[in-house]
Each structure stands twice: as C-alpha cells, then as structure tokens.
C-alpha cells in the first residue's frame, strides 16, 4: 500500500511540475493577449488540478496556498478582475512558490526555508488585494453587500464514508482539513455509532461519519468539488442552513438562489475541461528513460546480429533463406527508426522555458526585449535536449545583458527601442542547428583582437578573419576580461558553454555585425546512439563515414590522381575541393589501390574530399564509444561492429575538416587569398 502511494505521489510531483510549467506558459501568453480566455482557462485548470491532487495526498500547505491562488483565478475567469502586468507578475511568483512547496514534498518533507515561508506569506497578502474576502475583513459586511456574490453562507455538510475509504488510500480527516481552508468550521460532530460491535469490527474499514457546519463564502459547487474524489464511496449532502442573516438586506433564501446559478454555470464548464483533458492522457505513456535506453541498446545489438545473419544467408546461396533474412533486416530497420524516434522530443519545451527568463531578465535590466521562437517542433535526442538547456540559458542571458543595448542607446542608433531576441532551430545535414540571434550592438572586433593579443591567444602578426576573431570569445583565457566598456562581461563563461556543447559532439560558432547584432549558432548531432553510416575500405580496413555528411562519391582517375596528390585539392566542377588521403592520414602501409574514389563530405560550411580505395555502401551503425585509451585520438569518433564481426572505425568528419581548416590557416596568411576550404 505504502509503496503504491509513494509511486502515486511521485507521479503527482512530476505532473504538478508539468502543470506549473504549462501555467507559466499560459500566464506569459496572457501577458501578451490579456483577453485570451483559453489561457485563463488553462491557468485555472492547472491550479485546480494541482490543488485537487495535493488534497488527495493530504498535502495541506500546497492545498492551502493553491486554493487562494485559485480563488483569484476564479475571479479572473469570471471577469471580476482584469489582467494587468502586476497580476501576471504576482501569479508567476505564486507559481514559483507552488513549485517550492512541491519540491519540499519531493525532497521528503524537509521544511520550507524561512525565506520561502516569508515569500509565501507575502504572496498570500498580495493575493488578498484581489480577493474581496481578505481585502475587506474590517468592513466585511458592507463590502459583501456591495459585492453581492461572496456573502458568507452557513453550510451544513453531512458525510457518511464508505467502508473502503482507507483501503483506497484516503483519509476522511483530510477532507475536514481541507474544508477548514475554505471557511470557518462552526460545528463538527463525529459520528461513530455505525461502528459495529467488537466481533465485527474491522479496524481497516471506515465507519465514520461527520456532520459539519461550515461558514464559508465558497459556492455550493466549490464545496461539492471537494468530494469529487470520494463521490463513489461517500454519501455527501451539502445544504445551506437558513439562519438569521448577517446582513439584514440578504436573506437566507436569497443566498441559496445565488449559489445555485453559479453551480449550474460551472457544471457544464467542468464537463468540457474533462473531455479536453482525456484524449491527452490517452496519448501518452510515461516510460522510465533507463528502460528506453536499454531498449535502444538492445535494438542496436539486434541490428548488428541481423546484419551478421544476412551476411551468412548471402553466402549460403539459399534463396528462401536470403529472402527471409532480408525481410527481417527490413523490419529491424523499422524497429530501429521507431526506437530512435521514441527518444526524440521537440526542442520547443526547452525554448518556451526561456520566455520566462527573458521576461524576468529584461525587467531586471530595464530593457524592453521580445523573444521570438521558431522551429520549436524540431526534434532531437532527449539527452541532448536536457544538456543543452544550460548553455542556451547562458547565451541568452549574455545576449540580453551585453548584446542588446539600452532603449536610449538603441534610439540613438536609429533602431526601435524594443530589442529582439530570436531562438531558432532547424535540421541541417544530419544535425540540428540552434540559432540565438539578437539585434544588439554586435561585438567589437578591435577590442577582442586587442584583448586576445594581450592575453597571448593570438600572435601579434597573425591575420585573422572576422569570424575567427569573434570566435575567440569562446577561448578559455578570454573569459577573465577586465571591465572594457562595451565588451565587459561578454565572454564570461563562454568557454564553459563551448565545452558543454563539444561534449555533446556539437560545435558552436558566432557571427556578428557591428550595430546590427550577433548570431550564435550551435550545431548538434541528432542522436548519440546510432548513425546511418557509409562504409569505405582502405586496404583490409573498413571505415564508417556518417551518411548525413556524405554529399557525393566520384571516381578519381589516373591523371587526376597525380595532380591532386601534388596540389592537395581537386577541381570539382569548378570548385576547389581539398583532399584528405585517408591512406596516408591513418598510415596504412602498402601501395595504393589501382582504383581510388573520392567521398565528398560536408559539415557546416566546410567541404572536403576523402580519398579511399573502395566504396562499400550504406550501413546502419551502432556507435560503440572508444575506450579511454583512445580518448585522445583525433579524427575517430567511435567504432562499430560489422555483420562479419570485424571492427570498423567511425570517422569524425568535423574534426577532420577542422584539422584541414587549421592547416590552411597556418599556410595561408593573406586574408584576401581565396579560402582553400570551399564555402
């Protein structure tokens, strides 16, 4: 029992966090479009669901606080109060506080920090402004008479709990506790007379009943909702007591009729939300990420095994067998695609999280900044999504803090006073590209160069392209820049950003135009586990080139062979294509094969030709990381096992290309000379 409850509570925590996230999104949406009824509805539903589930687990602090929030939201939904910036800011803070409360539950009952408690109190007070009951306790009667709808009613609630209430994980007392938060409990009678005689008494069955008199402003519907969770096994009767009215103007019967219409109007609404939520629940199954990894690992092994099987089948010259294995490998491929897809999630959630960051930071800095998000539906591996959050956050903060100028400076530069920040994601040759662009002042090329020379990162005579200079801010030594007017802080921690991205097998580069803004481009692999490979052979060895990077294959004929060997590049339809002779690169001995081929690869804007002996075709490749011993090896990113059982090395094309670019940079000093690396 306790284990089940524990699991249920874990689910509650996860769901509550998601709901709070959704609530935050809707609040931000509401800030932009104050009339958006859907957003208000979504916020209300989120708060309501959290309150309901928290009540189920007897988490009184969450229920108590959320209830106050919900009251305000209810009034917002009814149009009693209007949306304004203050209210949104307050509700956002309330969301934060609810998250804090939930975190306390998640960390197993450690108490809130005094600071958090204080924040909670302050929020309660602030919410009171929007709450007629709390705001006007002093002259409650007159205020309520004017309000006409939140008058206190004495409710009589009669409860008879069913025998299985405890066994279903509920405690009748938690309903009482919850009712306490709704109003003043004038009278409680605990009924124990239905407890059977000792012989028949089962301590785990519930025989309790309560007669409660509650003085509350809550409507009949609100009270009724409290018992939604036990409706099946509990008799509930809620009636308004006809008592001498507090305010002579309003009689008891009037109060009842007042309560009724609200009841009727909320009921169909609730039905609508329930039907809305249902299909969504049906669409998703929560799966432990570890199980998914295990599955993908197994599928990887399956791919290898099936490749081995079809290789054997081919050597048997047995047609039916051949046919069967090819069907199997077709299916295996589909399973692989499906399994990999399970891990892919859209990056939109991560992006949307930044709306709040942008909002808060821009207020903090006193700048007016708009965040534009595009490509939110672009999917990438879950692990990558999780790990890219921090670097992105850093880049965004940097852009807001140092990239976008103050409103005055922007106006002086002839730009609109509102700064724009854009987050964009798209797929490009087997990787995902995330762009963070601002329309700020751009980087100061001279300052960076000066700084870099001072720090010894660049030889004083070296001539660098703008691009190279801008990318210097990702160097480790650069982050300690002293206060340099329009450069200050820029670059702080950028080396950390770069390191994190490199760890994900990604790259980052930066482009900037003075006065127009800066674009940071992050390029990441789609998945970390499996790639579509292109097999090439050199001597007896086999190498794998990620297929996404292969552009085309051409034969290298005799005359071209000699000239290209001397020059180190090839004329590809008028384009200069630098060549890497893999045979030399990996020190294969023996004479070159009679026929040679060039595989043209592209990564980012660099293109090169890899000279190999044989082209062996496509192959689904499960990446096996190399041991630590080979960690320092450049140009190889991993290994894989072929169907024959032989090991093939996977080429690290980005690293190879980079090596090439660096070599070029060393030999070609003149900035205007045509770049040998084709762009």
């Amino acid at each position: 029992m306790s284990i089940n409850l524990d699991q249920a509570q874990q689910t509650f925590i996860v769901e509550a966090r998601e709901l709070l996230q959704a609530m935050e999104q809707s609040l931000l949406q509401l800030e932009n479009e104050p009339d958006d009824q859907d957003a208000i509805g979504a916020i209300f539903r989120a708060a309501h669901t959290i309150k309901g589930s928290a009540g189920l687990f007897g988490l009184a602090p969450i229920v108590g606080f959320t209830h106050i929030v919900e009251d305000v939201l209810d009034r917002l939904r009814d149009g009693d109060i209007a949306v304004d910036a203050d209210l949104i800011a307050l509700l956002l803070k309330c969301g934060d506080h609810m998250l804090e409360l939930i975190d306390v539950v998640a960390s197993r009952g450690e108490a809130l920090t005094p600071a958090a408690l204080q924040r909670g109190e302050a929020l309660r007070e602030a919410l009171g402004v929007y709450h007629p009951l709390h705001a006007t306790t002093a002259d409650a009667v007159t205020a309520k008479a004017a309000d006409g709808e939140s008058a206190e009613v004495l409710w009589h609630i009669s409860l008879r709990f069913g025998a299985d209430v405890y066994r279903n994980g509920m405690d009748p007392l938690s309903f009482l506790r919850y009712l306490q938060t709704l109003g003043q409990m004038v009278q409680v009678d605990t009924l124990t007379d239905s407890i059977p005689a000792l012989e028949n008494f089962d301590p785990e069955s519930c025989y309790l009943g309560f007669e409660i008199d509650l003085r509350s402003t809550a409507s009949h519907a609100t009270l009724n909702e409290v018992f939604d969770f036990v409706r099946d096994e509990c008799e509930v009767q809620i009636t308004a007591v006809d008592e001498a009215p507090i305010n002579p103007a309003s009689t008891g019967t009037e109060l009842v009729t007042q309560a009724e219409p609200t009841h009727r109007s909320t009921a169909p609404q609730r039905v609508a939300t329930a039907s809305e939520a249902k299909p969504r629940d049906g669409n998703y199954v929560r799966v432990n990420a570890d199980k998914l990894d295990e599955l993908i690992n197994l599928v990887g092994e399956l791919v290898i095994a099936s490749a081995g099987a079809s290789l054997l089948a081919r050597s048997c010259n047995h047609d039916p067998l051949h046919e069967a294995t090819s069907t199997v490998s077709g299916l295996v491929e589909e399973i692989l695609d499906g399994a990999l897809h399970l891990r892919m999630i859209p990056i939109g959630d991560t992006f949307n999280r930044f709306r709040r960051v942008v909002r808060d930071v821009s207020q903090e800095l006193g700048k007016d900044i708009d965040l534009l998000i595009s490509g939110a539906e672009t999917e990438l591996d879950k692990t990558v999504v999780e790990k890219i959050g921090d670097p992105l956050m850093h880049l965004l903060r940097n852009a807001m803090d140092h990239g976008i100028e103050s409103a005055e400076a922007r106006r002086a530069a002839g730009k609109s006073s509102k700064g724009h920040l854009s987050l964009n994601a798209y797929h490009d040759s087997g990787s995902i590209v995330i762009e963070i662009a601002d329309d700020g002042a751009g980087l100061n090329r001279e300052r960076i160069l000066e700084k870099a020379q001072e720090r010894g990162l660049v030889a004083s005579g070296a001539v660098l392209s703008d691009q190279e200079i801008y990318n210097l801010i990702f160097e480790a030594g650069f982050s300690t820049a002293e206060a340099v007017t329009n450069l200050s802080g820029r670059g702080v921690g950028m080396d950390v950003v770069k390191r994190n991205i490199t760890l994900l097998r990604g790259t980052v580069d930066l482009d900037s135009r003075p006065g127009q803004g800066t674009v940071v481009r992050i390029r990441l692999p789609l998945t970390l586990a499996i790639i579509n490979g292109f097999l090439v052979g050199i001597d007896q060895a086999t190498y794998v080139i990620p297929l996404d990077m292969v552009q085309e294959c051409i034969e290298l004929d005799e005359p071209q062979r000699d000239s290209s060997r001397e020059q180190g590049y090839l004329d590809l339809r008028g384009e200069v294509l630098p060549l890497v002779h893999l045979r030399d690169h990996f020190n294969h001995e023996g004479p070159a094969a009679r026929r040679q081929n060039v595989v043209v690869v592209r990564y980012a804007e660099h293109k090169a030709g890899l000279v190999v002996d044989d082209l062996l075709g496509e192959f689904q490749t499960v990446i096996k990381p190399l041991g630590k011993l080979f960690g320092a090896l450049r140009g190889i990113s991993g290994s894989t096992i072929l169907g024959s059982g032989a090991v093939a090395l996977i080429l690290d094309v980005p690293a190879l290309l980079n090596q090439l670019v660096q070599m070029e940079a060393r030999t070609a000093q003149a900035p205007q000379s045509p770049l040998v690396v084709a762009r």
């Binding site: 405890y166 605990t190 301590p203 785990e204 519930c206």
Partner: protein
C-alpha cells in the same frame, strides 16, 4: 510502531509509539482491544504518536466505547501534537 504495556494494581498503562494510522490500526486493535476490561482502569499514553488519521481516530472511539461497556475507566495521560491536532479537528469526538 511499538506498544509499551504495564499493569500495576488495577491500572493498565498502554503507550503507543509511532503512527496511529491505517497502516498500524490492525496491529494496534489486536493488541489493545483485549486490554479493555482486563483492568479497572486503562491509561492511554499517546505522547509518542507521530501521526494520526481517521482510522486511528476510529480505533480510539472503539476503545472508548468498549471501555464504557466494560465499565473500565479510560483516561488519556499524554497526547502528542499530532493527536491534539486531530482531536481538535473533529472537536474531540472521541475521548
């Protein structure tokens, strides 16, 4: 959860330590209910109870009822905060 138990003269003293909830009521009921009526006076010490719910409340109510039937004088010698709060919530329904 543990139960301490001692009997002096005509008074049985029973102390409950730990939870007084649905998880422990079955065990507690088996141990406590036979005590009721065994001695002329029954003193319940609830000062070490860490948690109490409706099922616990119900058990106390049964003990009280049985004590009345058997003519045992029942008294509470101690109550923890958890007990006090629960009893307050339902206005000391039992005891």
């Amino acid at each position: 959860m543990s139960i301490t138990h001692e009997t002096t003269d005509d008074t049985a003293r029973v102390g409950i330590e730990g939870e007084l909830t649905i998880y422990t009521v079955a065990e507690l009921a088996a141990a406590l209910l036979p005590q009721v009526g065994a001695a002329a006076r029954l003193e319940l010490d609830l000062s070490q109870v860490t948690e109490m719910d409706g099922a616990g409340l119900q058990l106390l109510a049964v003990i009280e009822r049985e004590a009345g039937i058997n003519g045992t004088a029942l008294s509470l010698t101690g109550q923890s905060q958890a007990v006090t709060q629960t009893l307050q919530l339902c206005r000391g329904a039992a005891l």
